[in-house]
């Protein structure tokens, strides 16, 4: 074996570690001397949670532009906190650099033509560009808002969406957010606007300092700004010691963006896993496996960091469910890889891990992902275990489904899936479905128990419960059909792929039924993606239904294949394997 290739896993890990280290490094303070990151640490309240201003700046910019940074007029990439300060410095008479920042993402061509704008790459526009036709836009947006949310078309939705984005900007630029504590104990916060007229002397003073802070920024006076910042932090500490405990950690978390970094790593794992199949060496597979483990470590760290910041169990909303499902998928995939060593585990782990993190990214466009929950969703043993179990159940279903896709596409379209590989794939699918059954059933019933504890109703047949029940029935159906000999390998794989549709429906589709609240923005787009996903799965099933004599992997006897990937120990274990698939 080539000496250099032996070191491949270590080289890959070292490169990945360097990559991560570069992301952990704190950003250098800007050249103009403002201590922006110190400013980002100041506490405020949003969606019921005390958080550093940095988080608010990032989520607000994320909602408006879909990114946490922006490109200024000079072409430099700038952090969200810069945009936030510029927005704060916007004067009512309408000056200031915030108007020139191209941050509003508008991709709908009808909305663009309403505003008299040309589509451009990136689809991001500044307020100054929107302003000339703002009156017409508001008239249209007002009309769209009057339309019943269930009857709005895409254009209406996009109008409402942009109007909401403009409101997010206004909330910041008009100082409507809550940044002034009143008293440490009674958890009351005011916006600067209200605090200026408040009878509380301390709050008034805090509001005044904040205004002067931004004045110093607007006047381009870094020395005054930094001094004022120090004064404010000390004053706050002395007068109202707000518990910001995790603020520094949270800004680090924001800066590191660990979910994003692990998604990047998963992409590399995926590439390595696929190249292993294309005939590369065992070292490539091992590199993929260990890189996968590193990515999982980052992913896990991020998951626990979120729990630490929020003080809640891992799954609190759709966003965190995506993150958690991805995490579970990766663990299952890596365990399968450890057992079977045939490359499927890493590819499934990286594909599902990466995809769910992308889904999570789009879900985070809705705003702060660590919002507080309704009272009934407050931490409770049954709820926490229910949500954890059920999301792990979703996880297992997806893993089984993706393995099914490999089985079908691999055997029909490529000559590489020889008999032993197919056998072990089927065993993996079967085992994972058993897990899915266990987890989704237990999770569903635990949900019932929680409902019984909080509403006195074990089972209410409401859409979300029905979604969970559908998964349970589907898994039971697959297992019983298998035990009854009604389906064999091909059937198992196809039903597992159909399980992807069922699971996606329970996870997202059910939320889309309850239009109204959810029809806005993301969910309407998500429906389209859900349909695309469903159709793609059906297409793969259709491929799986082609006659067996067309399957390229079945066309030849395994031993005749020179291009077969190197055999792991798994292949010696199936002496009595029967060379049929159906």
């Amino acid at each position: 074996m080539n000496k250099y290739v032996t070191y491949l896993p270590w080289t890959v890990l070292a490169l990945a570690a360097l990559f991560l280290a570069s992301k952990v490094m704190p950003a250098s303070e800007p050249r103009d001397g403002f201590h922006l990151s110190e400013f980002g640490l100041l506490p405020m309240v949003d969606r019921g949670r005390i958080q550093p201003i940095d988080t608010k700046a990032r989520t607000a910019l994320m909602v408006i532009s879909g990114k946490q940074t922006f490109v200024d007029a000079k072409g430099n990439t700038q952090p969200a906190i810069r945009w936030f300060l510029d927005a704060l410095a916007t004067r009512s008479e309408g000056g200031g650099p915030a108007l020139e920042h191209k941050v509003f993402r508008i991709e709908n061509d009808q909305v663009l033509s309403l505003l008299g704008l040309e589509p451009r790459s990136g689809f991001r526009y500044s307020l100054a560009e929107i302003r000339p036709r703002a009156a017409e836009f508001y008239a249209q947006a007002q009309r769209a808002r009057g339309v019943d949310p269930k009857k709005r078309d895409l254009y209406d939705n996009k109008l409402v969406e942009l109007a909401q984005h403009l409101e997010v900007f206004l909330e910041v630029s008009q100082w409507h957010f809550l940044s002034v504590p009143v008293a440490a104990k009674d958890e009351q916060w005011l916006s600067v606007r209200d605090a200026v007229q408040s009878p509380h002397k301390v709050s008034q003073a805090i509001a005044q300092i904040q205004l002067e802070l931004v004045d110093a920024y607007a006047g381009n006076d870094p020395t005054a700004f930094n001094k004022m910042l120090k004064t404010y932090a000390d004053y706050l500490d002395r007068e109202i010691p707000v518990n910001v405990g995790t603020a520094r950690f949270e800004t680090f978390f924001n800066h590191f963006a660990p979910f994003y970094q692990s998604a990047v790593l998963y992409a590399f794992v995926f590439v390595l896993g696929c190249s292993f199949w294309l005939g590369w060496r065992e070292d490539v597979r091992r590199s993929a496996f260990w890189l996968g483990c590193l990515a999982l470590a980052v992913h896990s760290w991020a998951l626990f960091a979120r729990m630490y910041i929020q003080g809640r169990p891992p799954v609190t909303n759709l966003y965190s469910s995506a993150v958690f499902i991805g995490w579970g998928c990766v663990i299952v995939g890596l365990i399968l890889e450890y057992i079977y060593r045939n490359g499927f585990g890493v590819v499934v782990a990286s594909a599902t891990g990466g995809l769910t993190l992308i889904v999570a990214h789009y879900l985070s466009l809705g705003g702060d992902t660590m919002e507080m929950m309704q009272a009934v969703l407050d931490t409770n043993f049954w709820l926490a275990t229910h949500v954890t179990c059920i999301t792990l159940g979703y996880t297992a279903c997806f893993v089984a489904g993706f393995l099914g896709i490999f089985y079908i596409l691999g055997s029909v379209l490529t000559p590489w899936l020889h008999n032993d590989l197919r056998q072990s794939l089927i065993k993996m699918i079967y085992g994972v479905i058993c897990f899915a059954m266990l987890l989704s059933f237990t999770g569903t019933v635990l949900g019932g128990i929680w409902a019984d504890q909080s509403w006195g109703r074990f089972w209410g047949w409401d859409p979300k419960e029905n979604g969970a029940l559908l998964i349970v029935i589907w898994n039971a159906l697959i297992l019983h059909a298998r035990w009854g000999g009604m389906i064999k390998q091909r059937g198992l794989a196809n039903l597992a792929i159909a399980g992807n549709i069922v699971t996606a429906w329970s996870w997202f589709g059910v939320n889309m039924l309850g239009v109204g609240l959810h029809s806005y923005g993301f969910m309407a787009g998500a429906l389209r993606w859900l349909l695309v996903f469903d159709i793609s799965q059906l297409a793969i099933i259709a491929v799986g239904l082609t006659p067996l004599e067309r399957w390229r992997s079945l066309a030849q006897v395994p031993q005749d294949k020179p291009t077969a990937p190197p055999k792991g120990p798994s292949q010696s274990l199936q002496p009595k394997a029967v060379p049929t698939a159906s």
């Binding site: 309240v45 019921g48 929950m373 407050d378 019933v445 109703r457 019983h480």
Partner: protein
């Protein structure tokens, strides 16, 4: 393959082949047909479709309508509109086996399978436990469907209550209050109230004409309603009332709460009724609404033939031999939002029969179980400082807990056995 699929070697019903070929009895043949795994799988498919459409139906129907029509019925008529996912508005409906029927056959299928293949050994103990747990679960849903009673107790702070209201059943009540010591009540269920219907055969000296019945409504003060409608550039709806509370309030029909609504709301029925004496002369047109009950408004009163009657539309009530008094209601929100952080009710149970008089704290996820009923913190009083408690009597409430434990342990045994044997062979030297 492995022991993971014990029956995969022989197709449909393995036990039939294992036994020597004697002539099986008719009973046994029938049992075997019933016990087939094919039947199980077909039933799963049917159940899957039922649950799927039972979810779609909730887009435009209330959750209880769906539960009663789809899941607690032998046959359901699924509207074609629902079949095509509300994409086309086609009249008509398809018959489909409902929850009772499918559950029943599934239960029979399961019991038959175990009757035929029953044998006790360690390998099958997991399956046995899972399936027994499922039987318990199905029975619990049956018991809940047949016997569970849900209601609501609404108490304003510092006041007390001794009755539970059943909000799925409203009633039109006419109370004879001539004699202050004895009330005489005539009640008509809301199911027999329909627009234009005249109720003549009541044991009352007058008839009641239902002008308009609204299963769910908003009630506004007239002044507010004018502002509300002029702001929306709509004309004021007509107000048929010419007496009583209807002179200062107006009811506007609202769509019923569907199962997919993201907010759980309480439905508030209202009705406009005209009271007609024997000659058909109007004694007044009144607005009756369950909304007034929430506000503790004194119901409208009419005098006829020297007697006094109080008219109201109220939720059906059932009285308890004890009283629950609300001492304090707390409702915290997250700072800077309207998202509730927690609700809790400090109540006192006063029970003359048992002599109990004790304080209890009811909060989210911490219900009070008392005399076979469970009181849950459900919501805050919609119009005053007070609490809404969900009151449930379900004789089968413990069964899901037992079932859950049985099935989970069963699955752990079953899959665990196979996993260990699989891993042992996989990593065998």
């Amino acid at each position: 393959m492995s022991t993971v699929m014990p029956q995969s070697a022989t197709p449909a019903s393995p036990s039939a082949r294992e036994e020597p070929r004697r002539r099986p009895s008719h009973l046994r043949t029938a049992l075997e047909a019933l016990a087939s795994l094919r039947v199980t799988v077909v039933l799963f498919v049917l159940a899957f479709i039922l649950v799927f459409y039972g979810t779609w139906a909730q887009v435009d129907a209330g959750i209880w309508t769906v539960v009663n029509d789809y899941f607690r019925a032998a046959v359901v008529w699924i509207p074609l509109k629902v079949v095509f996912f509300h994409a086309f508005d086609i009249p008509g409906a398809l018959p489909y086996p409902g929850g009772w029927l499918l559950g029943g056959i599934l239960l029979a299928n399961l019991l038959a399978a175990h009757a035929i293949r029953f044998r006790v050994d360690w390998k099958r103990s997991g399956i046995l436990l899972i399936h027994s747990g499922l039987v318990v679960m199905m029975l619990s849903e049956l018991i809940t469907g047949l016997y569970a009673i849900e209601g609501r107790m609404t108490i304003v702070e510092k006041q007390s209550s001794n009755f539970v209201e059943h909000d799925r059943h409203a009633e039109l009540a006419v109370v004879d209050v001539t004699d202050p010591k004895r009330e005489h009540v005539v009640a008509v269920s809301s199911t027999s109230l329909a627009d234009g219907k005249v109720l003549r055969d009541l044991p009352l000296p007058f008839a009641i004409e239902v002008i308009r019945y609204m299963p769910n409504s908003d009630v506004f003060d007239l002044e507010h309603a004018e502002i509300y409608f002029s702001a929306r550039k709509k004309g004021m709806p007509d107000n048929p009332a010419d007496a009583g509370l209807g002179l200062r309030s107006i009811a506007i029909e609202k769509s019923i709460t569907t199962g997919t609504d993201t907010e759980q709301r309480i439905e508030l029925p209202s009705a406009y009724v005209r009271i007609l004496d024997k000659d058909g002369k109007s004694l007044g047109t009144f607005l009756l609404s369950t909304y007034f009950g929430f506000l503790n408004e004194v119901p409208d009163e009419i005098r006829h033939d020297g007697k006094s009657y109080r008219l109201s539309l109220r939720f059906e009530r059932s009285y308890r031999p004890y009283t629950i008094q609300l001492e304090e209601f707390r409702h915290d929100v997250y700072v800077g939002t309207t998202t509730p952080k927690n609700y809790s009710s400090d109540v006192r149970i006063i029970d003359p029969e048992t002599g109990e008089n004790r304080p209890v704290k009811i909060s989210m996820n911490n219900p009070l179980r008392y005399r076979g009923e469970t009181f849950y913190q459900s919501a805050l009083h919609p119009f005053a400082k007070g609490t809404v408690l969900q009151v449930v009597r379900n004789p089968g409430w413990l069964m899901p807990y037992i079932s859950c434990a049985m099935v989970t342990i069963g699955m752990l045994i079953h899959f665990g056995l196979h996993l260990t044997s699989f891993l042992r062979r996989r990593f065998a030297p």
